[in-house]
Each structure stands twice: as structure tokens, then as C-alpha cells.
């Protein structure tokens, strides 16, 4: 029975000229989007590799110099791209691509791509995630909005009812009629992406399970939209009303709520301005130990403590170069200040995330958006992860350099030059993003929201068909 009913729905949908055209347009757009993204990411990845390689060369080919000079000279950490970013760009465009790692200072990632684009880029770009998140739900609405109203308008619903068939079964068949073609389409998109990622060499290792989970997230998203389309269709008198109300739902959940969420988040938990943030750090730093300033109070205290600890009466008697030691202590102190301020910033970020999370109950788009970004390693969380890793590397690097300075020279000997070989001995910066399990665990609330939506959508469909 279900087979018969579903077959009829599929026939109707697949034979409709309108839907064929719409489906074709979506297909073409998707292919363009995937190809453009693939070539874009390939070139970005290549640039990234080249840049990291060159930067390491620059670092290693420094002459003999004072380790602290090398620390000021610094090095760059470049943020890599991950295979699934082919499907979802996430916030990548809005975060910097490289972090300058130097002495005394934690720098923000520089050069966000969006700053190098026209204002039009803020409209969004034709990327696979744009199609998956915005356009396919519209296609579902187009397919599903008149599934019941059409039967009401032509009177076939009465005819069908008079045959004694269960309306629930009819509704389920209609659901399948919309859902099956959409799932096939999604499957194709992910398959193409997967194959493409498998064959493009420099994309890094593709996690098939990540790809699969991501696909399931989208399929769940589409199941929700399919249910909602059918609910609207079963409750509306005419196809026009169903279409308009579904569109209202779409625009509210995909555009209005995410944007309103931004405003609420910015109002409730505003980010400090860059200047204010920097100044707060500068203030804290000026009150603490400055590795370059032996005359400050904090420096004097450190001096006394050190002398006491090593039971010597003058800095020259210490078994290491006190300048290097003080530099390292200063570095540690500053790192702490940065840690504190970045921690505060992270709290703001978490509070903002909390607001988005609360609003997931109003929009199925939000959990999917966040899940998809996380799985693709293009979310803000990954960026934080990267920036923290870079900071840890920076601290390690400074420690290495300062210790070398302290251990290999005597107090007051600023002319000390470390041998070239030191630069190569310091390990290269390498970064690996959070593991899939961690991503899944961190996003448990988003998964819960998505499941909640699924349950509510199916329950709604179940209830609404009762009133037909």
C-alpha cells in the first residue's frame, strides 16, 4: 500500500515541469559551487603549504644572533584548511589566516579574506553550504507546499478519503515522495564531494565518518523541512497560503532569527573593540614584570627573590644569565596576562554561543549551521583551538630561546649570539584540529536541538494529518 502511494507521489513530483526545472537549477548551481570551491581551496591549500615552508626557511636561515633578537624577529603560524571545508566554508572567511608569533606579544590572526572582498560578499557566496543550508530547503518547500492543498483544490482528497485509506499512511507516502528525491540529491552532492576530496591530493586526509555524519545532519535538516512543508500544506486552504506561510517560516528560521541572534548576542555580551582589548592588556602589562625593564618594581622584586633562592649576593654570581632568566619570567607573566584576557574574551564568545544555542529552539537552521561548521573544522571553536595552539607554541618557543640565552651567556652579555643550528633545532609548529569524537561531544547540544526538531516535526505531521 505504502509503495503504491509513494509511487504516485514520486511520479507526480518527478513529472512536474516546474520541479524538474527547479531541481535542474539546483543541480547546476551545486556543481558550479563545488567546482569553484574545490579550485579555491586547492589554491589556498597550496599557498598555505608554500607559505609555511617559506616561513620555516626564513626562520632557519637566520644568521647567528641573540636568541632574543630571534624571538623579536618571530615566526608565523598559518592556519591550515581541512577537507570538509570544501562543503562548508563556515566562518573561515571572517577569521585571519596567519598569526605572528613574537616575543612579549600574543597577536590576533591577521588577514581575514572578507576584508579583501567587496561589500557584496556579505550577501553570501555561492558555496556548497549556501546551497545545502538555504536553497535545498526552498526546493523542499516548493515540492511539498501543495502536496495536500492540491488534492484539496482538485477534490481528489475526498476521493481518496472515500477509498478508506489511512490518511496517516497517505501523509507518510507524501513525506517519502518529497524526502526520497531530496535525499538522493544530497547523497549525490556528498558523493561527488567525497570523490573529489579523495582524488585532490593536497586536501589533507579526508575523514569519511566526518563526511557521513555531516550528511546525516543535512538529511535530518531536510526531514524537518519536509515535515513542516507537509504540515503547512495540510493546514492551509490553498496552495498560495501554504507557500507564503512556509516561506515566512524559511525566512524567519534561516535569515531573521540568526541575524536577530547576532544582535541579541552583541547587545547582551558585546565584544570589546580591538583597541580597548589591546589597551586593557597594555595596562595590565605595564603594572607587571617587563622583561626589558630591569628598573620596575616587579623587576626589583624578582631580582631579590632570585638572589635569595640561589643564595648568592649578586646577579653575576648566578649560574645563568639573569637577563635571559628575567626575560623568560617576564614572558611567563605576560603570557598569563594574555591568557587572562583571552579567557575573558572566550567567556564572551561562550556567552554569545549560549544565545545562539537558546535560539536553536526557534530555528532548525541554527543547530545545523553550527554542526556543519564544526564537522568541517571551519567553526569559531576550531579557530580558537588553533589560536590557542599557536599561543602554546609561542610560549614554548620563547622558553627555548630565553633558556638558551640564560644558559649560554653571562649576566650583562647582550652581545651573545646563538649558533644558527639553534633555529633548526626548535620544532616546527604543527597543528591538528579537534578529533571527530571531541567535535561530536562538544556539539551534543546542537545534536539534541536537531533531534528535538525532528521529533517535534514528526509529531506535528502526525497530529496535523488527523484534522484533514
Amino acid at each position: 500500500m505504502l509503495r503504491l502511494l509513494t509511487k504516485k507521489e514520486l511520479q507526480e513530483i518527478l513529472r512536474s515541469g516546474q520541479l524538474r526545472i527547479a531541481g535542474m537549477i539546483v543541480m547546476v548551481l551545486t556543481i558550479i559551487a563545488i567546482l569553484v570551491s574545490a579550485s579555491y581551496y586547492q589554491s589556498i591549500q597550496q599557498q598555505h603549504e608554500e607559505a609555511s615552508h617559506n616561513e620555516r626557511n626564513v626562520w632557519e636561515s637566520q644568521d647567528d644572533k641573540n636568541p632574543h633578537s630571534a624571538a623579536h624577529y618571530g615566526t608565523y603560524a598559518f592556519k591550515p584548511k581541512y577537507p570538509l571545508s570544501l562543503i562548508d566554508q563556515g566562518v573561515d572567511k571572517f577569521v585571519g589566516i596567519s598569526i605572528f608569533l613574537e616575543a612579549h606579544k600574543r597577536n590576533e590572526a591577521q588577514y581575514m579574506a572578507a576584508a579583501d572582498q567587496t561589500g557584496l560578499a556579505r550577501f553570501g557566496e555561492l558555496t556548497p553550504d549556501f546551497i545545502l543550508l538555504f536553497i535545498i530547503p526552498l526546493l523542499i518547500i516548493l515540492m511539498g507546499h501543495d502536496s495536500f492543498t492540491r488534492e484539496k483544490e482538485t477534490g481528489t482528497l475526498k476521493l481518496m478519503k472515500s477509498q478508506g485509506v489511512s490518511l496517516r499512511l497517505v501523509a507518510f507516502a507524501k513525506w517519502l515522495g518529497v524526502f526520497i528525491p531530496i535525499t538522493v540529491l544530497t547523497l549525490c552532492v556528498f558523493l561527488v564531494a567525497g570523490v573529489l576530496l579523495g582524488t585532490l591530493g593536497n586536501f589533507g586526509e579526508l575523514s569519511w565518518s566526518g563526511l557521513l555524519i555531516m550528511m546525516l545532519v543535512y538529511v535530518g535538516y531536510y526531514a524537518i523541512f519536509t515535515c513542516i512543508s507537509l504540515i503547512a500544506s495540510s493546514l492551509s486552504k490553498t496552495s498560495g497560503i501554504a507557500l507564503v506561510s512556509l516561506l515566512a517560516f524559511w525566512i524567519i528560521s534561516c535569515l531573521a532569527i540568526p541575524k536577530a541572534a547576532t544582535n541579541i548576542a552583541e547587545l547582551e555580551h558585546p565584544y570589546p573593540t580591538k583597541q580597548a582589548f589591546d589597551e586593557a592588556i597594555a595596562l595590565d602589562k605595564s603594572q607587571g614584570l617587563d622583561g626589558h625593564d630591569p628598573w620596575s618594581k616587579a623587576a626589583k622584586r624578582l631580582e631579590e627573590e632570585t638572589l635569595k633562592a640561589y643564595k648568592v649576593s649578586s646577579l653575576e654570581e648566578l649560574p645563568f644569565n639573569y637577563d635571559g632568566y628575567r626575560m623568560q619570567k617576564g614572558e611567563e607573566h605576560e603570557a598569563e596576562i594574555y591568557f587572562k584576557h583571552y579567557h575573558k574574551l572566550k567567556d564572551v564568545h561562550n556567552a554569545q554561543t549560549g544565545i545562539y544555542r537558546k535560539l536553536t529552539s526557534l530555528s532548525p537552521y541554527l543547530p545545523v549551521r553550527f554542526l556543519s561548521m564544526s564537522l568541517a573544522h571551519t567553526d569559531y571553536g576550531t579557530h580558537w583551538h588553533f589560536s590557542d595552539a599557536a599561543e602554546n607554541y609561542r610560549i614554548e618557543l620563547q622558553k627555548n630561546l630565553n633558556n638558551n640565552f640564560a644558559d649560554n651567556s653571562t649576566y650583562g652579555n647582550w652581545a651573545y649570539k646563538a649558533d644558527k643550528s639553534l633555529w633548526a633545532d626548535i620544532p616546527e609548529f604543527s597543528y591538528s584540529p579537534p578529533e571527530l569524537q571531541d567535535v561530536v561531544k562538544q556539539n551534543s547540544l546542537n545534536f539534541a536541538a536537531l533531534s528535538g526538531w525532528l521529533i517535534i516535526a514528526f509529531a506535528g505531521l502526525f497530529l496535523s494529518t488527523k484534522r484533514l
Binding site: 516546474q18 569553484v36 501543495d146 498560495g240
Partner: protein, 476 residues
Amino acid sequence: MLTLNIITELRTIFRNYWLAAITLILITICLYAGWNGQNHVNRHEDSIVAALEEMQSADELMAARLDSIDQGLEIGLPTWQYPNSPTATGDGAPRVAAFPPGNLALISTGQSDMFNHYVKPTLTGDSFSIGFTELSSPVSLLMGNFDPAFVLVYLLPLIIISFCYNILSSEKEHGSLVLVASSPLSVRHWLLQKIAVRFVVLILILTICLLLMLMMNGVMINTDALLMILMVWLYAAFWFAMAYFINLRGKSSARNAITLLGLWVALVLAIPSLISQSASTFYPVPSRALLVNEMRNIQAELDKQQNEILDDYLRNHPELITRDADESTAYGWWQRFFASKDLVSERMAPLLANYDQSLKKQQHWVNQLSFLSPAIVFRNSLDHMAETSTAHYDNYRQSVMTFADEWRDFFLPMVFQDKLFTKDMIAELPAFDMERSGLKSPVSTNATILLVMVAGLMLASLVMNRVGETEHLMQG
């Protein structure tokens, strides 16, 4: 006939729940969006005010310290931070180069959530490495804002579509069209009058909402504000003309709804994203990652030839040569510092110009194609009037660069000629002034494009199915 048609149309609209619903929706979203926009503007304004206040008190402190130094008093700072040293003041007492929000800033967030609103260029900082990007959550940047521009660009067309998609088709489906068609009049003109009435009603409500929103947020109602409202009218006119055109095709309400929504998706979402994508595909910005490499190579190279650099530099800037300049003094060190800095800037300039160039090319490409979508044209005008467009921030950046040079030129002779900074010089410090002459307003061009679009649609409606008009409309 015209008055009668107007009266009747008004009666129908007023007795329908639509008008109440639309008024309510419009007023709510306009005021909410305006409130959001204003909050955003306030944050920017506040940060600038705070920075300026802080600068003022720092100046006062500096003046007091300079007095104390004059009187030979201890001021509790290491000597290299003494404010009479030009390098200390050039770095320690920077001016606030602010880009205050414009009168209509609340209309469109534009790029204002991405870029800084004030920077403080210093003497020793590289002007090319001044960070102009704001510390904002990328999630916020990705999602965008619920600002008036969003309401006007995205939501307004949908409201118009839902108001007018079935203006003819419903009469046909309901059966009143045959009566109208049996009257001695042109259905085309009759429909035009009906849609014109709706246009005027909606425009009126919208204008009131917008004025209310502007006034509630203390925006001055000047010609720019009126011009903005005029642009809104034109954009609305486009969507009404589109609804008229689509209705005249004589298809069913459901078909009209789908067609109009399809057009909305195409014009507001798909085409802008396609154009933006094509802009960055055809005119890719050179890699920033590789720029970092270039910069590092230049630095490394210059590091190795410090001495030659100074000689070259002084040959070009004989006015900066002082008699006792040699490497053993601090001044010798500063000379070397600025000399190599200048060289880095010089070598970087063509590389950086590439970015400006490709951004300009992108913008040119986008402008050329903007006639494909009224949403692009309209959004562009709103951004411009709100002073939050890419061009405005670009202009701001250029102004800051110029100012950074001015700032340097003020201190450099003192550094090189070993002069001290004095209290009277505080008043002479260069002040930042935003140069706006380079900003060309796209509004009139955009208004023309929109007008042409509306006229084109009306013309197409006039020409379409002229022969057998009624037959066509009746049969669909």
C-alpha cells in the same frame, strides 16, 4: 473611473486583515531593526568618545609632565619614556584617528561590524601593518545583522510579493474578473490603477515607519535621509512593477507566487552571491600568506645590509643628517631604524598596491554587473548613505595612511636632529582629518538603474500580449 477604482481598492484593502497585518509587521520589524542598528552605532560612538576622552587626559598628563621636566622635577618614568623625547611621544601619545558613524549609520551595518572605527598610528609602527579589522565574533559576521538594510533589501520585497502576487489572479479565480472584463475598460489599466493604489498605501505606511524609526533614534531628517526614503520607494516600485508584470501573464495565484518567490531568490540571494563569487574567482586577491613571506624576505634581506641602508637613506634625506650621528648613540640607532623601515615600506608598497588594485577590480566588476539585481544596487546605495560601504572604509584607511605619514614627518626631524619635544608642540600635533573627496556617491547612478528597471518592466508589461489581451488574461 480612477477615483472610484482608488476608493474601491482602498475599501477592499482596509476591510481586509492584510493591511492591519502588514502595518503591524512593518512597524515592528522597522523599529526593531532600527533599534538594533542604533545599538550598533552607539557602541561605535561610545568607543570613539572614550578614546578621545582618554587621549585628552593623556595629553593633560603629558603637559604636566613636560612642565615638571622643565622645572627639573622627577616624574617617575625611565628616561627613554620621558615625554620630551620625540620617539617616546610619537609612540606614547598617538592621536585618535576616528571614523565617526554618519547620520544614517543605523540604516545599514554594512562593513562596520568588520572594521575598526579608530586607530592610533604611532611613530615606530608600520602604517601598512595597522590592523583595521575589528575584534568581532566571526559568527556574528557570518550571520549578519537584523538591521534596517536587511528589512528593506530582503523582507520588503517579500511583503510586497505577499501583498500583490494574486492581485489579478485572485479576481480571476474568484470570478469577479469576468465582470470587470465585461466593462468598457482596459483590464491592463484597471490593474495598473489597483496596483498603484497598493503601492501608494504601502509606501505611505513604510515611509511613516521609516521616519518614525529615524526620529526615535535621533537621526536628523536631512536631504540624505529623504534621499534614502526615495531609494526605498524606487526599490519597492521595482517589486510592485514585477508583481504587475507577473500578474499580467495571467497565470494562477499559485504559479504567480512561485514565480515571484523564484525571482526573489534569484535576485536577492542567488545573483548577488554568484556575482560576488565570480568577482573573487576572476579577480583573486593575491595570497596574503605569500605576502607574509615576501615581507619576511624583505626584512631578512634588509637586516643583512643595515649599514648600506643608512648611507643610502641619508643620501636621499640630507636634511636629516646630524653631525654627531653615529652608531654608538641612541640617535644612530633610531636613524638606522627609520631608514630600514622606510625601505621596507617602499618595497612593500607595490605588493600592497596589488591588493588595492584587485579589490578595485572586483568592485568594478561588481558595479558593472549590479544591473542584474536591484538588490545589489539598492544595498549599495544604502551602505553608501549609511557611510558603511567598502568604499568608505577604504577611504578611511587611505586617510589614516596619509595621517600616519604626517605624524611621522612631524617627529622625524626632531629625532634625527636630536631636538626635544616641548609643551607648545602639543597644540601643533597633526590632527586626523578624514578626506572624503575621493568618495563618489553611487546613489544617483543606482537610482537611475532602478528607474530603468522599473520603466523596463512597465514597458514589457505594456507590450506583452497586447493582442487578444482579455482572451489571454481570461484563459491564463
